[in-house]
Assembly symmetry: C2
Homo-oligomer: 201 residues x 2
DNA sequence: GTCCGATATATCGGCCCGATACATCGGAGC
DNA sequence: GCTCCGATGTATCGGGCCGATATATCGGAC
């Protein structure tokens, strides 16, 4: 899930971890905002799999001034910094780019069907990258989502009907509100699907 | 989070794991439906902490017929089954009940403030047990939730405004839909808060 | 009588999260 | 010019939850 998001963002632009997190925050729907404790391990996995790799780091425009040293440091520390500076910017930045294997992995993850039928975040994420899908797969994604929501709506209505009397006031209010919200979600999806079919013709 | 849910259900009735899962499915908002891979470890933790304990298992009405044996089994196996049957029903059920420590833990978890400001499920869960909270804490819960949603709404609007041109069609549609949904959530909360204040008078 | 699906408990690997630690850079204030 | 602070930046650790899987029993369909 996170892998898909990372690859999708790197597809458009080379980025380092910190910047990646910021973009994940608002580009990926209203939810989530990934934590560093997920992001860095995910980047590590992707790098180990050869899907991304650290690229030559350049700071903004400068590109020069690799090691701003005061001049009196011992040789060992200087060598260490020089080694690190080769792949990192002056502030220790580590900029990642996507590889061909990464492109392939992205397509695979985006097209993957199930990936948990209930995971709302996965759907939002995939929708954000829907432009990379062929038209039929895009419609398939929307239809599958619609199915999940309809099933959820049925369960909700059944629960409200069943527990008419024995249900808590707060629970009942929550369920009624959730029912309405789910119905609106379905209508929204219907509009998207309709539009998609029109453009298909 | 799961601990709170389990304790809340056991507060009302003694239950075994499988049944617990079913109730967690619909009683806890439209979301979730907990997995066994979370439920059994959570029960284990609670048992280890002395918050719940396995009670004498009785099957429905019968309560008799403890070991339906065919008659020819060796003593060892029979003894093993008898030992197990003491705390489990005929089908290996393990029925849990809440202890006094569990009651205290429930109150503590329910009153806990932060518990991640972004976790939607935690709020729904707490709302489902809001009847166990004093009136002021109940209002506090609702107000805090409102604050989270307002912040989310602001971020959403800012994101839509900022990325007017460069935003994907699908992403934009998702964000606009999310904006409306969040506004409705806030209105719903406002109604709940208003009602709560009226009953407080 | 036997097979099958629902009931029931449990473990395993893996992902993600929150907390935390640790550096460095740029600028505000003195 | 100096110092301190907050933003930038990478990284690890423990723990919770999930999906997949293993195992066993019960009730009924056939």
């Amino acid at each position: 899930m996170l892998e898909l998001a990372i690859l999708g963002l790197l597809k458009e632009q080379e980025l380092h971890g910190y910047e990646l997190k910021k973009r994940l925050g608002d580009a990926l729907g209203p939810l989530s905002s990934v934590s560093f404790g997920s992001l860095y391990p995910a980047l590590g996995r992707l790098e180990a799999a050869g899907a991304v790799k650290a690229v030559e780091a350049r700071d903004g425009a400068g590109s020069g001034v690799p090691i701003p040293m005061t001049g009196s440091l011992g040789g060992e520390l200087a060598a260490f910094r020089a080694r690190r500076a080769a792949v990192r910017g002056s502030r220790g930045k580590k900029v990642y780019g996507i590889t061909e294997r990464g492109q392939a992995l992205f397509d695979e993850l985006l097209a993957a069907e199930s990936q948990s039928p209930e995971d709302d975040r996965a759907f939002n994420l995939k929708l954000a990258f829907a432009r990379y899908l062929p038209a039929d797969a895009r419609i398939g994604l929307l239809e599958r989502r619609r199915g999940v929501l309809v099933a959820r709506l049925d369960r909700l209505k059944a629960a409200v009907r069943t527990g008419r009397e024995r249900l808590d006031d707060y629970s009942r209010s929550l369920m009624e509100h959730s029912t309405e919200a789910t119905e609106r979600d379905i209508s929204w999806l219907d509009a998207l699907i309709k539009k998609e079919r029109q453009e298909e013709r």
